[in-house]
Each structure stands twice: as C-alpha cells, then as structure tokens.
C-alpha cells in the first residue's frame, strides 16, 4: 500500500468515524454467535506480537490470543491486519469486533472504547543474569546498568537511580544489547520485548527481570456498550490465565512467563 492509499484510507476512516452512527444497535456477542465468525484486528508489523511469517500466515502473541478467543467462543476466526494508527478506527467503524493489537490503556482511549482485563505483559524493567540479586532500585548501588539513551527507561531509571549507580547510555537498542552480551554492563534497563529478542538468540547470559520500572500491559479493545461481549472475553482471559494457556503463549513469544500481577 503506498502513501496515497494510506492517506485516503485514513481520511475515509475519519469520515466514517464521524458520519456513521455508532453500531450501538446491538449485542455484538449475539451477532458473533449467530454468524459463527469473529473479526479480530491484529498487528502485522510489530514482532513478537504480530508479524507475517515466511508462509504469509500471521503469527505472534496477539494472533495466538485471537485464536484462543475464537476457539473458546467456538466460532470461525477472521484476522484483520491493522496498523497502530488505524486499529481504533477499525473498531469504531465496526469493521472488527475486537482489537488485539498490543493496545495500551490510557484516559483518551477509554473515552472512545472499552477495555477488557490485561492479556499480555508490556513493561520496562531492569534485566540481568540470574546470579545478580537485585530486587529494587536501591539494590542497584555500585552496579553498572546499560540503557538506550533517551528511552522511557532511561528517563525513569535516572530519576530513581541511587547515587553510586553507573548508567551507561548507548545510542540504540543494539548498542545496549551488545554491551550486555559482551559483559560491558552487568544489567540493562529495557522493555520486555527487547529482552525477549535477546533471549531468542539464546545467549550465554540470559536477561531475567529484576524489577519493573514502568508497567503498561496490553488490553483487548472493544466497542462501548457491549457488556455481554466484554464479560465473555474477560471470562475467557481469566480462564486462560488459570489453566496456563496464557502463560504458554507468553513463554512462546516473550521467552518468559506472565508476571504474577498481570
């Protein structure tokens, strides 16, 4: 899709969003069960949450989550690829029933759509090998932590750092990763997705989470005024959390189980 198409699409989405009446009519869950199909928006350009594999099939954490929900509802799954810019308009214009697209919750979004409970961990934290025992910011005293300059975790870590913590700031995530793997720094402050990317290379030093800096887990988005669908999806998430299905997805794509507080 070229730029002009994108702009046209965005403009169209905007028009549709402003002119079309909200699909308030109904009970989306009833429609899904009647049509035996659920339409779910997933990312296609955001690994490990959603990418397109060599076989052109979408795959990732969000895709597995979509499959899980469709399976529990006992309906056919229709995946709709979206970008981070158009995922909420797709929902508002009733092109999809759910958005599972590593969506974070904030006040602005809560005004226009509803959120289920969290289904995936997304956080910044301090990571390090198992033999370094650190559980909070104060425990970092005397340590050397690598971080990507200017990233959220850099700003947050600088605020909470004890006086004798050495922070080494690298130009980009690759520099931070290399510094950790080559032992130039003992720990790194980064996102769990970056840590997962390191784990995927199966290095001798495995970054394990020591403590969280900033937590903003992912939620499933759905239209407002859909209490039946909301309750049903929440029930599925709770069930998957209990029977370990969610933990398995997390292990598969993020290389680590779910944090206890999710």
């Amino acid at each position: 899709m070229n730029r002009r198409h994108l702009i046209a699409l965005a403009a169209g989405a905007l028009l549709a969003a402003t002119q079309m009446p909200l699909p308030a009519s109904a009970d989306a869950l009833a429609t899904i069960e009647k049509d035996k199909v659920i339409r779910i928006a997933v990312p296609q350009d955001f690994p490990p949450f959603g990418t397109v594999g060599a076989d052109m099939e979408p795959k990732g954490y969000d895709v597995d989550m979509a499959k899980l929900i469709a399976g529990k509802l006992g309906v056919k799954l229709e995946l709709v690829p979206v970008t981070s810019a158009n995922r909420i308009p797709y929902l508002q214009t009733n092109k999809v029933d759910l958005v599972i697209s590593s969506l974070g919750k904030n006040a602005e979004r809560e005004k226009v759509i509803d959120f289920t409970t969290a289904y995936a961990p997304f956080f910044n934290g301090v990571f390090g090998p198992a033999d370094i025992a650190v559980t909070d910011a104060a425990g970092l005293a005397g340590k050397t932590v690598g971080v990507t300059r200017g990233a959220v975790e850099d700003l947050e870590l600088t605020k909470i750092a004890p006086a004798d913590l050495t922070i080494k700031r690298y130009e980009d995530n690759n520099g931070t990763i290399s510094a950790f793997l080559s032992g130039q720094v003992e720990l790194i402050a980064t996102g769990n997705v970056v840590a997962a990317a390191i784990l995927a290379r199966n290095p001798p030093k495995k970054p394990e989470i020591k403590f969280l800096i900033k937590n903003s887990p992912c939620y499933i988005g759905l239209n407002k005024n859909e209490p039946a669908l909301l309750a049903k999806v929440n029930e599925i998430i709770a069930g998957a959390n209990k029977d370990g299905a969610l933990d398995a997805i997390s292990q598969k794509w993020l290389g680590a189980g779910l944090p206890k507080d999710l």
């Binding site: 300059r149 850099d154 690298y170 130009e171 520099g175 032992g183 130039q184």
Partner: protein, 223 residues
C-alpha cells in the same frame, strides 16, 4: 520559521558539557602523545628497522588505514570481550585512538625519514654514532620538522574523530550533546553549542601544536 531558540538548558546541563570537554581533551592528549610515539616507532621499523619486522608493521598500517575508525572501536569494545579481553569505554577509546593515530602517523613520519638525504646518515656514522643514535639525533628531528604540519593536521583529525567514541557510551563532548538533545529536544541549540566548542578546541589544538613545533625545532623555521 517558527522555531524559538532556547538556551535555557545551558543553566542545567553545563556540567555535562564541561565533563564532555574534559574527556575529549583527555582522549586527545593521551591518543596524541602515545599515538605519535607509536607512529615514530613504526616509521623507524618500516623505513630503517630489521627486514623481518617490516611486513608486520606494514600489515598493521594497512589494516588500520583501510578500515573505519568506528569498526576498530566496536571491535575493541564489543568484540574483544569474546576473547576475554574486556576494558572500559575510556580505555577502549584511548586504545583505538592510539592505534589509529599510530598507523597514520607512521606513514607521515616515514615520509619525513625517507626524505632525509643519505649524506645525513653517513654524517652521523662518520661521527661515530650508532644507528640508533644517528636516527635519534640526526634523522628524526629534521624529519619531524619537515612533516610537522601534516602530523598536526592528523592529530586534529583524530581529535574530531573522537566523536565516534560516544557510540560506546564514553561520555565525551558528542555524547554530552546527544544526551542534552535527548533530554531537552533542543537539537539545533545542543549541536550548535557542540559545534562551537569543537571549533574552539580544534583551533586551540592547532595553535598549541604550532607552538610545540617552535619549541621542538628552534633552529630552523618550522613556521
């Protein structure tokens, strides 16, 4: 243009800049002094040294002069730890700069040595000097004098090239500018200030080297 220039951050961030200047100056001093010494040694080895040594020195010079400084730096900092050689970012930066200037300095100084008339070697020998003594007293000083302007330029280039060490988190002047930029989002102002400081440092270094030339080579005009 609706950009409002704002230098208010200087109040808060000047210590970062001062530290950055200090590290850039320190890297240049250590890199310059040790690099020129290494260059002299290699120039001697390549021009007058034992034949068995020359190919090794030539290989070192060609290896360094035909690869990017940034790659040499990354290799020392990120690569060598795999072989168990781990050094901090300042040591790695210093080492990379010495090795780099050593190779370029070698070729510049060798040019000066090879431009020395053979009569000067014979003059040294006829005074009963050993080869080393001849090199040190009769050959090296005039050779350095001849190539001093070129060597000075190379040292300035190495100082400016030290900006690359910010990539391994050595907190030099470029790191300071990047750091301030990422905290204040004042890109124009941060890099403008860094530009002015680099310019002042380069002009200052050039003048200092010219002064050093006058002291080292008082007899003939190196000016």
């Amino acid at each position: 243009m609706n950009y409002t220039f704002d230098y208010g951050w200087l109040l808060q961030y000047w210590p970062v800049l001062v530290k950055g200047i200090g590290i850039t100056v320190e890297l240049t001093l250590v890199g310059g002094v040790l690099g020129v010494m290494l260059g002299i040694g290699c120039a001697w080895a390549r021009a007058l040294g034992p034949r068995g040594l020359r190919p090794f020195v030539a290989a070192y010079v060609e290896l360094i002069r035909n690869t990017p400084f940034l790659i040499q730096l990354f290799f020392i900092f990120f690569g060598l730890p795999a072989l168990g050689v781990r050094m901090g970012e300042l040591e790695a930066a210093n080492l990379a700069m010495v090795i780099n200037l050593g190779a370029y300095g070698c070729e510049i100084i060798r040019a000066g040595i090879q431009a020395t008339p053979s009569g000067q070697f014979e003059a040294g020998a006829s005074l009963g000097m050993s080869r080393i003594q001849t090199f040190r007293h009769v050959v090296l000083i005039p050779a350095l004098q001849r190539i001093w302007p070129a060597l000075s330029s190379q040292i300035v280039i190495v100082m400016l090239g030290s900006a690359a060490v910010s990539q391994i988190a050595a907190e030099d002047l470029t790191f300071a500018a990047n750091f301030i930029q990422s905290r204040t989002f004042r890109a124009f102002e941060a890099y403008f200030v860094a530009t002015l400081i680099y310019l002042a440092l380069a002009i200052g270094l050039r003048q200092a080297l010219r002064g050093l030339g006058w002291t080292l080579f008082p007899r003939r005009s190196a000016r």
